[in-house]
Structure formats: structure tokens, C-alpha cells
């Protein structure tokens, strides 16, 4: 069981990430504008949007029930639980009882379950289609996600996220080729999960009126906006913790924690830059052709698995 200080550190981590999630999405927005050579909004624009939404009335369609009503709260709570489980600044997980890779992957499934259920519950056809797509993407991505992280876990001999990260960063893994391929496959799967172009399927703004978000308004929409940003941050943190743990704090000293924090911010900024370039240079993939992309991800993961088997 976690000690009180572990618990408080985890809670602090959750609160900080929750607070900076709109900053992250705002940064992506601002950068996108720059790439379009527009002036664009300030990086703080998403905070202003959220505050404004929080003051508005909460409306819901007559058909919607409790799943629609409580989904934003459940989603934020689950994401915060994941935040407490993931190593972000540190190498080890803040709370040991949660930091297992299977647990984290299945906690993301909780988010997906309620997010799509609210789409069906709203009674809107756009939201329903968005829900169906969200779950289909999950089906396409999950095997790649699990196989690639399993390769890393087998090499590290543990399924604990912190343990895998520690083994990879210290070079105590026998086959570097396998780690590299698994990392590529995992990053690809994470990109799918981020819901960015060309895989912006479930919350496609132009096509589906933002899918399951269609009918949300007021404070519920505000919470969802925070949650979407937090989810993206968490997926990246998951990727960093397993395959790119370099620089994170190995102990609880002030200096190493500060270094870990700075390194994390740099990693996020670099990835945000890459995301921006990719997102602004591709068109949306056709939904019915996405399996071709996802199968190639699984192909890379399988190749990583073969490399692991032969020990390359």
C-alpha cells in the first residue's frame, strides 16, 4: 500500500497535469495557427473557453439519461486515476499498486466505454456514429499496443511500467532491435489513440460534429475539453514512461525531480512539434481504409516480437 507521501506526490502530479492540460491543447492550437501563417489565439485561449463554458447552462437532449449526464465526471475521474498511476517526472510509478501496464491499458478502456456510451445515450445519430468509430479504433489499436509493450515487458522481466522504463533506460535489455521496433509500433498505436489527423475519426469536427461531444454544452463540455487534453497528455506520458524514460528522476531528490520535470516538458514540446507538422501536412484517412494502417502497426509490433524471439 502507498505511504502518505507517495499518495500526496501522486495527487500533486494529477492536479498539475489536470491544470496544464488546456495549456497543452492551447499550445497545439497556437502552433497550428503559426504553421498556417495565421496569427491565431494565444496559448491561454483554451482556459478562457473553458471558463466561459463553465458559466453557461447545462443542456441535454430529452432522450439522454444518467450515462450522458455523468460521463464527463467519470471520464475526468478515471483519467486522474491513470495520472496517479503513471510515472511522469519520476522513473518509478508514484503509487505501486496501480502502475501495471495491463491496469493502465484497461483504465483507458473505462474512458472509452463511458465516452462511447454517452454517444449512444444522447440519442443523436452523429454521436452514435462517433461512438461506434471510437470503439472500432480501440479494436484496431489495442492488439498493437499490447503486443509491443509486451515485448518490452518480456525483455525487462516485469509488467510494471516503471520497471520496464528502468530496464530500458539502463540498457539492461538483451535485444535493442526488438525494443526499437516495439517502440515504433507503440508510438504508432499511441498516435492512433491521440485522435489527430489523419486518424481523427471519432470526434471528427467537419464530418461528425465532434462525434460523442455533439450534444454536450456548458460545464459538461468544459470538463470534456479538459479531459480530452488530459487524455492526450497521458498517452504521451505512457509512451515516454515505457520507451523514452531517459532523463526522468530516479530518486526523490529535489534536483533530479526538477531535471525530470524539465526533461518531460522538453519531450512534450518536441512531440507537440512533430504532431503539429504531421497533422498539418496530411489529409484525413478514409475510415474504411484505416485497418490497412493499423495492420501495418501490428506488422511492426510482430516484427519486434520476432526480433525478441531470436534475440536481435
Amino acid at each position: 500500500m502507498p505511504t502518505l507521501s507517495q499518495f500526496l506526490i501522486a495527487l500533486l502530479q494529477a492536479l498539475v497535469l489536470l491544470a496544464v492540460a488546456p495549456l497543452f491543447t492551447g499550445f497545439l492550437r497556437a502552433m497550428r495557427a503559426r504553421m498556417h501563417t495565421r496569427c491565431g489565439p494565444s496559448v491561454l485561449q483554451d482556459y478562457r473557453d473553458i471558463v466561459k463554458l463553465l458559466k453557461r447552462q447545462d443542456m441535454q437532449p430529452p432522450a439522454a439519461g444518467f450515462a450522458f449526464r455523468f460521463m464527463p465526471i467519470v471520464m475526468v475521474a478515471t483519467l486522474l486515476t491513470i495520472t496517479m498511476a503513471l510515472p511522469v517526472v519520476t522513473r518509478a510509478t508514484p503509487i505501486a499498486g496501480l502502475g501495471d501496464m495491463i491496469t493502465v491499458i484497461y483504465l483507458f478502456a473505462v474512458v472509452r466505454f463511458f465516452f462511447s456510451l454517452s454517444g449512444l445515450d444522447s440519442g443523436s445519430s452523429f454521436a452514435g456514429i462517433g461512438a461506434s468509430r471510437e470503439l472500432t479504433l480501440g479494436v484496431l489499436v489495442e492488439p498493437t499496443l499490447v503486443l509491443s509493450i509486451l515485448v518490452a515487458a518480456l525483455l525487462a522481466g516485469t509488467t510494471d511500467i516503471g520497471g520496464i522504463g528502468a530496464a530500458i533506460s539502463s540498457g539492461h535489455v538483451s535485444s535493442l532491435g526488438a525494443v526499437f521496433l516495439a517502440g515504433v509500433a507503440f508510438a504508432f498505436a499511441c498516435y492512433f489513440e491521440l485522435g489527430k489527423l489523419p486518424y481523427d475519426m471519432a470526434e471528427a469536427e467537419q464530418e461528425l460534429q465532434e462525434g460523442p461531444l455533439t450534444e454536450y454544452s456548458g460545464p459538461s463540455l468544459a470538463l470534456l475539453k479538459i479531459a480530452m487534453g488530459l487524455k492526450q497528455l497521458l498517452i504521451l506520458a505512457f509512451l515516454f514512461a515505457v520507451f523514452l524514460p531517459f532523463g526522468s528522476a530516479t530518486d526523490m531528490g529535489i534536483l533530479s525531480v526538477v531535471i525530470g520535470l524539465v526533461v518531460f516538458i522538453i519531450k512534450i514540446a518536441v512531440v507537440a512539434l512533430i504532431l503539429g507538422v504531421v497533422e498539418n501536412s496530411v489529409a484525413r484517412a478514409r475510415f474504411r481504409l484505416t485497418p490497412r494502417h493499423s495492420w501495418s502497426g501490428l506488422g511492426i509490433a510482430s516484427l519486434g516480437f520476432v526480433f525478441y524471439l531470436v534475440g536481435l
Binding site: 505501486a96 462511447s116 445519430s125 470503439l135 489495442e142 516485469t158 450534444e215 454544452s217
Partner: protein, 671 residues
């Protein structure tokens, strides 16, 4: 009282309920009370018997039976105690539920239904405690027959044809099991299981016996490709019987595989476990893919039984791998995962069938496209069904998640220290489990969403009311069990581990410490479901606080705005149906669905094949031409057509070929 005295009391009540219900067939209210009340009492004492075995020591009782060649021996060990407990617990809930549900069948032979229902439960209990091959088979047949009559109870064409297929498969399976037992009896010199254990057959005879048992019990369990009867038979039976069939009867198949493979034959060879693992992986993925395409709720649930049997078989298979390779950690973890999921599946599948039954009781349709919006009219049923749906989708911290977590950990442990074949197959099985999990989430969002959410899509759905009290009470009990089995993991895992070690005869493994559970040591992984639950519930306060911070001056919550429909008036026809929701999956996995249709056809082909044999025997033709030339031409022709399929034109397909070729070359050169 000893466990056998409790079991005897339970069986006495079963007999009373069985015949009491049949004799009072004229007075249907009395028959319902007889069958439900007697069944409930029997089940309560059955639970006590199961508990007393799990807490105490195994017991054997030898009663002189009527036949000299077959001793009537009953044995209550850890495994059969667990099975008795699961059967009785679900029987108790079904009996409570039946007080209201069976009214639906008034005037259609309630007395007979009570007779077969209680006979079915009693024979299941007797199968798991029988310790003699002859009596095992007798009770096994009794169970199949009693459930057959429950399947055909509706007497319509669909039920009768489903019953016929069930009858055929069940008996083909019994024959396979019988031959397997005879092979073992040859080596042992008697029909007693205790002699089977003492004198095991040689490797070849043992392997044949195991394969026969795997076919027979696999057919009972509904593993693919022997599952054809299951999605037809389970939906046809009354819902409280479906809950028992899907919840417990198919587990008798798993019990049989364990009994023969581990208990009687002692674990055997490595490939036994790998076969069970591979069949499990295939069953789980295909089961859930077929479930997604269904819009009949009971068929959907029946296909999910195929899926979950697959997950249980993955655990059991891993356990057998560990036993054959003499790796106690792998063996105990695998069996622990399998048995835990067996218990969990009994609970949540029972719950889901009872929930579906409650909806059918009010709406008189199994078609999900005619439901919708029931969460408002049937709130209790809806809440219970949601808990079942979350549990079966392996949502943490509920029970389905804990057992799947242990399945992953067992596969992981096997992959770490196995032979090359094991290291190759277990991560692939884990990937299949991940795919299954994602598909199950989709399937149950669809099932819950289409039934209970959104707008009502029929008049009956609009006018429905909450199910009667006994039905709700039954569902609430099982929903509570789903939560308890998940949050109580730190207590339940050691108990399951004790059962697993006693079945395997191996040293115990460290699986729990305080509030956490772990796969044999904290250095690999740990899980704490109580902590997860506390965090999930506690962290709800944060978003509520954020929202409350700005609540001042905000207009109240309003539910008036129609959903956006591009300016048209929205109506229920516009929303996503059960059919269209799963359409992407049907499109992406199209080849698998054609296979399913072909499996159905192959039964007809078998009949056609016999005709063809007869006519071929009468024909006199230039044999040489027919047997050599024509097939050769056909072979080249079809091979050419197959080759064409390789050139699909998709760049990513070609990339996959390159990856596959590279992988194959690597494997060849380095191994």
C-alpha cells in the same frame, strides 16, 4: 455437519422440488412455489457444502450402488467443492428469479419446467462430485437431457431445431468422453477415478484419451469449432435456465478438461496445454466477433459465452503448460486465472441473462432494435445490467478485470521461462486477449446502449415498467457479487490459489499481501483493486468541484434541446441501431464472417456427402480420369486463383508480406 451431510440435505431438497413441482402441475402457483422454494433451499445447502469443503479437508464417501462393476463413489475435493459452490450460488439466484419469471409460462406446463430445472441442477452437482466413470457418464447424460427439455420448452420450430442440434452435439461429445474413459479404465482395471489416478495409461493412450475428452468436454463447453449448438440452444431456453446453462453448465466442460487432463492423467505432455491455450485464444476472438454482429440479445450473450470459455481455457491451458514443464509459478497462476474467471463468468453471465430475461419479460421481444430508453422505465434492471456489462468488459476494478489480469500475468510468466514454442505462443495469446477485450467493450457498449439508452424504439419499450421484485432481487444479488469478487480480490485470490495448488499438487505461490495481489512476488507486478476503487470514487470529487466553482449565477440544468439532426425533426429511426453500430467491425473482419456462414453450411454438406458416397459407389466411370486428371486440373486452376488473391494491389499488404518473409527468414536462420 460434514460437507457430505450438507450435500445430502441439498440433494434431498432438490428431489423434493423436482417431484413436488411435477406432482403439483395442476396447480401452477403451487408448482412455482415448490420448484423455486425447494430449489432455493437446495442451493443454500449446496453453497454451505461447497464452502465447508473449501475451508476444510476433501472427503470421499463410498455407497454400495446397485451395480457390482461401478461403485457409487462421491468425492468432494477443492475443485468439486468450488464447482458445487458456483452451481449452487447461481441456482439460488435463478430460483429466486423464477418466482416471478416463470409466471410468463402459465398454462404451458410449469410443473414440467420445475421438474427439468431442478433435475438439471441436481445432475450438475452430482457430475462434479461423482468419482466413478460410470456414474459420471450417467449424471452427465442426465444433465444433457434435462437441459435439452428446457431448450425445447417453447415448442416452436426454432427451439425444436436448436434442441435437435444440441442433442446431437451433446451425444457425440458423450461418446468421445466415454471412449476416453474406457481407454483409461483399460490401464486402471476399474471404473473408479481413484484407480485412474493410481494407474495412468502410457503416453500414447493417455494422449488419445485426452484428445477425446477435449473434444467431448470442449463440445459441452462450446469452444470453437464445436460451438455451433450454443448460440442456438441457449437463447431458446427460458432465461433463468439460459443463465444456468451459460453460467454453469458449460463450465462442466472446463471442469471435465481439468479433471481428465490434470487430475486423472496428471498433466501429461506439453502440447496438451498448448492445444488448450490455442483453442482458447481462437474461441475468445471469434466468439466476441460473432457476438458483435448479433442484434438478438440472448444470442449475443450466448456468443459471449464462447468468448469467455476461450479466456478460461487460456488460463487452464497455461496452467497445464506449467504442470507439464514443472514450473509451479506458471501452473498455479494459469489455473488460478482460469478458475477465477470461471467463477466470475458464472456471476456476470448469469446476471446478464437474468437482465435480458427481465427486459424480455416486459417487452416480449429479443430484438435489441425494438428496445431503447429502458433506463428510465426499468432503472434497477438497467443498473444491474450495466454492472454486468462493465464486469464482462473487464473494466477495473470489477471482477472480470481481476481474472483477465491474472490471465495476462500467467501468460507473461509462461512466456518468460518456457520452451521456444511456449515463448512463441503465449504472447500471441495475450495479444488475442487484448483484441478480445477491446471487442467486448464495443459489444457491451452496444448491448447496453441499444437496450437502455437513447430513445425508445417501440411502443412496448415506451410503456414498459420495472421488473417484479423477485427478479430485481436476483439481479441485485449477482451485481453485488460482481463488485465483491472484484474489490475482494485480495481475499479471493488466495482462496483460488489454494484450489489451484491442491488440484495441481504443487507448492503454493505468493499471490496476495494485505490489500494487493501479485503474480508470485512484488517485483513483477502488483494490483490493488480496493485502492483503485477508492481512487476512482474519490477523484470524482475533483470534476464536481470544478463544476461547482462556477455554478454561481449559472442557469439550472435543462433537458429540452432536441439532438442535432441537420435541421430535421429528430426521431428514433435516425439513431444508430444494433446493426449499424457494429457495421465497421463486420466490414473490417469480413473474411471471418463468411467462415461462420460456412460452418453452418458444413452440417448440410455432411449430409450431402453421405448421399454422394452412396451414388459414387453405384457409378462406373473411367476411374483414372476422374481420380487423377480432373482433380489435377482443378488443383492447378484453384491454385492459380488463390495466387491471384495475393496480389491485392494494396501497398500495406505488400509491406506485410515483406515483414512476414523477413520474420520467417529470421526464424529459419537463427533457430
Amino acid at each position: 455437519m460434514t460437507s457430505f451431510q450438507l450435500l445430502a440435505i441439498s440433494l434431498t431438497f432438490s428431489v423434493l422440488a423436482t417431484f413436488g413441482s411435477l406432482l403439483s402441475a395442476r396447480n401452477e402457483r403451487l408448482a412455482i412455489a415448490m420448484s423455486g422454494g425447494g430449489g432455493l433451499l437446495a442451493a443454500v445447502f449446496g453453497c454451505l457444502a461447497g464452502f465447508s469443503v473449501l475451508l476444510g479437508a476433501p472427503a470421499v464417501v463410498d455407497i454400495t450402488g446397485p451395480f457390482a462393476f461401478a461403485h457409487f463413489v462421491l468425492r468432494l475435493d477443492a475443485l468439486s467443492g468450488l464447482m458445487v459452490l458456483v452451481i449452487s450460488a447461481l441456482a439460488a439466484v435463478s430460483s429466486i428469479y423464477s418466482f416471478a419469471y416463470v409466471r410468463e409460462y402459465e398454462g404451458r406446463g410449469i410443473g414440467a419446467m420445475g421438474f427439468f430445472f431442478n433435475l438439471f441442477i441436481a445432475s450438475m452437482v452430482l457430475v462434479v462430485v461423482a468419482d466413478n466413470a460410470f456414474w459420471f457418464l450417467v449424471f452427465f447424460e442426465m444433465m444433457s437431457l434435462a437441459s435439452y427439455f428446457l431448450v425445447i420448452f417453447d415448442q416452436d420450430e426454432e427451439a425444436v431445431s436448436a434442441g435437435f442440434i444440441y442433442f446431437l452435439v451433446a451425444h457425440a461429445g458423450s461418446v468421445a468422453i466415454m471412449i476416453g474413459f474406457f481407454l483409461m479404465a483399460n490401464a486402471a482395471g476399474s471404473l473408479d477415478f481413484s484407480d485412474f489416478r493410481a494407474n495412468r495409461p502410457g503416453e500414447l493412450a493417455g494422449s488419445i484419451a485426452f484428445v477425446l475428452a477435449l473434444i467431448g468436454f470442449g463440445a459441452k463447453a462450446g469452444m470453437i469449432p464445436l460451438h455451433v449448438w450454443l448460440p442456438r440452444a441457449h437463447p431458446a431456453a427460458p432465461s433463468h435456465a439460459s443463465a444456468l446453462m451459460s453460467g454453469v453448465m458449460i463450465k462442466i466442460g472446463i471442469f471435465g478438461i481439468l479433471k481428465v487432463g490434470v487430475d486423472l492423467l496428471g498433466g501429461g505432455v506439453l502440447w496438451w496445454g498448448i492445444t488448450v491455450l490455442v483453442l482458447g485464444a481462437i474461441s475468445s476472438v471469434l466468439g466476441v466477433i460473432y457476438a458483435l454482429a448479433e442484434h438478438d440479445i440472448k444470442r449475443l450473450l450466448a456468443y459471449h459465452s464462447v468468448e469467455n470459455i476461450g479466456i478460461i481455457m487460456m488460463g487452464v491451458g497455461t496452467g497445464m503448460i506449467g504442470l507439464a514443464a514443472d514450473q509451479p509459478l506458471v501452473a498455479v497462476l494459469g489455473l488460478l486465472a482460469g478458475l477465477y474467471h470461471l467463477v466470475n463468468h458464472a456471476v456476470f453471465k448469469g446476471l446478464l441473462f437474468l437482465g435480458a430475461g427481465a427486459v424480455i419479460y416486459r417487452l416480449h421481444t429479443k430484438d435489441m432494435d425494438k428496445m431503447g430508453g429502458l433506463a428510465r422505465t426499468m432503472p434497477w434492471t438497467s443498473a444491474c445490467f450495466l454492472i454486468g456489462a462493465l464486469a464482462i468488459s473487464a473494466i477495473p476494478p470489477l471482477n472480470g478485470f481481476v481474472s483477465e489480469w491474472f490471465t495476462y500475468q500467467a501468460l507473461f510468466a509462461a512466456a518468460l521461462e518456457g520452451t521456444f514454442l511456449v515463448r512463441f505462443s503465449t504472447p500471441i495469446a495475450a495479444t488475442a486477449l487484448a483484441l478480445t477485450g477491446a471487442l467486448a467493450v464495443m459489444c457491451f457498449v452496444k448491448a447496453y446502449g441499444e437496450m437502455f439508452s437513447g430513445m425508445p424504439r417501440s411502443k412496448k419499450a415506451e410503456d414498459s415498467v420495472e421488473a417484479p421484485l423477485p427478479m430485481v432481487a436476483g439481479m441485485l444479488l449477482l451485481a453485488a457479487a460482481c463488485i465483491a469478487l472484484g474489490l475482494g480480490a485480495p481475499v479471493i485470490v488466495p482462496a483460488m490459489s489454494n484450489v489451484a495448488t491442491s488440484v495441481l499438487g504443487m507448492a503454493p505461490v505468493e499471490v496476495a499481501d494485505g490489500m494487493i495481489v501479485m503474480p508470485g512476488g512484488t517485483n513483477k507486478a502488483v494490483l490493488s483493486t480496493p485502492l483503485l476503487a477508492v481512487l476512482l470514487i474519490g477523484l470524482v470529487s475533483l470534476p464536481v468541484m470544478i463544476s461547482a466553482l462556477f455554478a454561481k449565477g449559472r442557469a439550472g440544468h435543462r433537458r429540452a434541446a432536441d439532438p442535432w439532426a441537420c435541421g430535421y425533426l429528430p426521431d428514433a429511426e435516425m439513431t444508430v441501431t444494433a446493426h449499424s453500430f457494429a457495421q465497421p467491425i463486420r466490414m473490417f473482419f469480413a473474411p471471418l464472417y463468411t467462415t461462420s456462414r460456412n460452418v453452418g453450411k458444413s452440417a448440410q454438406k455432411l449430409g450431402g456427402g453421405i448421399d454422394a458416397c452412396v451414388s459414387a459407389a453405384r457409378r462406373i466411370e473411367p476411374m483414372f480420369d476422374r481420380l487423377l486428371v480432373t482433380p489435377a486440373i482443378g488443383l492447378v486452376d484453384s491454385a492459380g486463383r488463390r495466387m491471384q488473391m495475393l496480389q491485392g494491389g494494396g501497398l500495406s499488404t505488400y509491406c506485410l508480406y515483406i515483414v512476414a518473409a523477413l520474420a520467417a527468414l529470421l526464424l529459419i536462420t537463427l533457430r
